[in-house]
């Protein structure tokens, strides 16, 4: 029991399983294979965004510009589809990723080399990226009928019962997992977030780590920009408005510490799944919109309180003299 409580991922997985069971009893169509596949597909963008955001938060940063990045990358990609609708779909995806990467690079370089605090920098680009959509598109919106079938069809191709969007997410999750756990740069993120001073003395360069995470976060947002516009068949300056907060909330629920240095890929994914199940279950259960907001807020607060409790761990005393002085056994 205490193992389960200590292991956040398992606890969260059990909570989600209980929740899905409960919803299934109340509204049986929710647990049909079709609907489970739909929920996974619907949550895939959130899954991916959570991975990008988690890497940023690990370094004690935050990226508020991700939703605006989605909107701008999606707009640029959709505009290409509007002007030349019959290019191979990889062209649109690549353009979105490149755009997102450049936007992430702007965040990263100013944070890393100019020293602008991440929250200020990305708050600025949150507004600036959406503004750029207006300048770029002249205020026009790209509609479903203008994007063409190639652009909109790709994210919905079914493979083994779920969509290609879901499989892209699986591949990305594995990639991020390997990066964080098996590469020097990935481990370095935990180091700079956990103890920046110590990391510096170990020769880990915070600036380079920051440049890396904001760029990766931007690239993932760019990819999601394509997926979002193709999924909903519309690109304009207000898409994914406020989505950055959902992404951060999913990270927090998934046990990623806002104080940096703590967070795992499975935890973050479960945090996203938790929110994905909630937003999809509430309409099926026909709960009023007022309750929907209240429930989401309550869940996030609970997660933060649980986090705060589990993070209250003491400083590890290494020297035997210090431990004796503190009253512990040597």
């Amino acid at each position: 029991m205490s193992f389960i409580l200590r292991n956040r991922e398992i606890a969260l997985a059990i909570i989600i399983a209980l929740m899905v069971t409960g919803i299934g009893i109340y509204a049986p169509p929710f647990v049909s294979p079709d609907n489970i596949s739909y929920v996974l597909d619907d949550t895939s963008i959130l899954f991916m965004m959570v991975l990008g955001q988690m890497m940023v938060i690990l370094t004690r940063g935050i990226d508020l510009s991700v939703a605006s990045n989605i909107a701008l990358s999606g707009m640029i990609s959709a505009s290409l589809a509007e002007s030349s609708p019959n290019l191979p779909v990889i062209t649109y995806i690549a353009l979105a990723i490149v755009t997102g990467t450049i936007l992430g690079l702007i965040n990263g370089s100013l944070i890393a080399f100019v020293g602008i605090p991440p929250i200020v920098m990305t708050l600025g680009t949150l507004a600036a990226f959406r503004g750029l959509i207006v300048v770029y598109g002249g205020g026009n919106q790209v509609n479903a009928s203008e994007m063409g079938a190639v652009f909109q069809g790709f994210p919905k191709i079914p493979i083994l019962g779920v969509t290609s969007t879901f499989w892209i997410m699986v591949a990305l999750s594995i990639g991020v997992f390997v990066f964080l756990n098996m590469t020097r740069a990935g481990r370095g993120l935990y180091a700079v977030g956990g103890n920046p001073e110590a990391a510096r003395y170990c020769g880990i360069d915070l600036s380079r780590q920051q440049l890396l995470v904001y760029t990766l976060s931007g690239a993932i947002a760019g990819l999601c920009g394509y997926l979002w516009t193709a999924r909903y068949g519309v690109a304009y300056s207000e898409i994914a408005s406020g989505f950055e907060l959902t992404v951060i909330a999913a990270c927090v629920i998934g046990g990623v510490s806002i104080a940096g240095g703590v967070g795992t890929v499975p935890g973050a994914l479960l945090g996203a799944l938790f929110l994905g199940v909630i937003v999809n279950a509430l309409p099926v259960m026909q709960i009023t919109p007022f309750w929907q907001m209240a429930i989401s807020g309550f869940v996030i607060l609970t997660a933060v309180i649980l986090n705060a409790r589990s993070e209250k761990r003491g400083i590890k005393l290494i020297l035997p003299e210090a431990r004796r002085a503190a009253g512990g056994t040597p």
Binding site: P29, D42, G138, G139, N140, W228, Y232, V279
Partner: protein
């Protein structure tokens, strides 16, 4: 919500126009003609919706003969710039001004100033407050908008089957008043076999509206129709119908824009939807102005003619409604999709 949608669209348009013109100032067409001159001042330039309105205005002027239309607007959709445009029109001594205002109250002094100099002022699309114009022409009225949407879904479904409403946010005044008007229409006996089963809210976000639509079809397996009185809700709902393989099983209707609904209509997810026709709207406004310039009364309580659009009665608040929303279907959606 339509109003917000338009306002946002204008915001983007104005920023785009600003970037393009780089402060080149205001554009005002200068007319040289012997007949009477009517200025149509819209929110901003480069907006295809208003361009369509101006086409209707030209049509009315041409039909009446002896009238010239000056179609103008500021490059930015702000009240300050619009006042400058109106001042310039006053200096040109035009005969009538038709305004879609960027700010109901801020334009009152400009409207009063024009009327003091004998220029007739009316507003359309977006009203000037009561003191600053003779009358305001609304595209439609709440009871007409509500009733039309229930009639459309009843026609599609043959009056049988469960229907739900997919609205914007639960706090939006115009959405709620339209829903009330729908429920009023629903009380009629011909809708007895077409119950309203749920009202859900997509908050005018594509993703949330899409999810609410998905939730509706799961919560109500016998659902046949959905009314969405918001342009974002109807397009996202139609998308969910198409993606979910529900075309032919569930139909959506409501208030939408032809350019956004073209695909859904052609795919069969949406049989009919409605919104005001901007060409008719520009025509009717101009026709009223022509009648005023010809000596007709247009104050509260009077009845004014709108030419081929029929007649309308001006209410005590000085506002009148053009008519019921214009219905789009397979036959005309492509034509109008090119306009707005």
């Amino acid at each position: 919500m339509l109003k917000t949608n338009r306002r946002e669209a204008l915001k983007f348009l104005s920023a785009g126009a600003l970037a393009a013109s780089a402060g080149s100032g205001l554009f005002v067409g200068i007319a040289r003609a012997d007949g009477k001159r009517i200025a149509m001042v819209v929110k901003n330039l480069g907006n295809s919706y208003f361009d369509a309105c101006s086409n209707g205005a030209m049509e009315a002027a041409k039909a009446a003969g002896g009238f010239e239309i000056i179609y103008t607007a500021p490059t930015k959709a702000t009240a300050e710039d619009q006042i400058a445009v109106i001042d310039s029109l006053i200096a040109q001594k035009v005969d009538g001004i038709i305004v879609s205002s960027n700010d109901a109250n801020a334009l009152v002094p400009a409207g009063k100033k024009a009327m003091d100099r004998g220029i007739k002022v009316i507003s359309f699309d977006s009203a000037i407050a009561k003191e600053g114009r003779i009358m305001h022409l609304n595209a439609s009225s709440t009871p007409l908008i509500g009733a039309k949407q229930v009639q459309m879904i009843a026609k599609t479904l043959g009056g049988k089957g469960e229907v739900a409403i997919l609205s914007a946010a639960s706090t939006m005044t115009n959405q709620n008043s339209w829903i009330e008007a729908m429920k009023e229409e629903w009380k009629k006996p011909e809708y007895a076999e077409m119950p309203l089963v749920a009202t859900v809210y997509g908050d005018d976000q594509d993703d949330k509206s899409y999810r609410e639509m998905q939730g509706l079809v799961k919560a109500y397996p016998n659902l046949k129709g959905v009314i969405s009185p918001t342009t974002i809700g109807i397009r996202a709902g139609a998308k969910a119908i198409m993606d979910g393989g529900l075309v032919g099983k569930v139909f959506i209707t409501g208030l939408g824009l032809p350019s956004e609904m073209k695909e859904a209509v052609l795919a069969g997810a949406c049989d009919t939807f409605a919104i005001w026709n901007p060409v008719d709207y520009g025509y009717a406004s101009t026709q009223i102005m022509i009648n005023i310039l010809n000596g007709a009364e247009a104050g509260p309580g009077s009845t004014v003619s709108m030419g081929r659009m029929g007649e309308t009665k001006v209410g005590d608040d000085g506002e009148a409604a053009m008519g019921e929303p214009f219905v789009f279907d397979k036959s005309n959606v492509e034509k109008f999709a090119a306009i707005f």
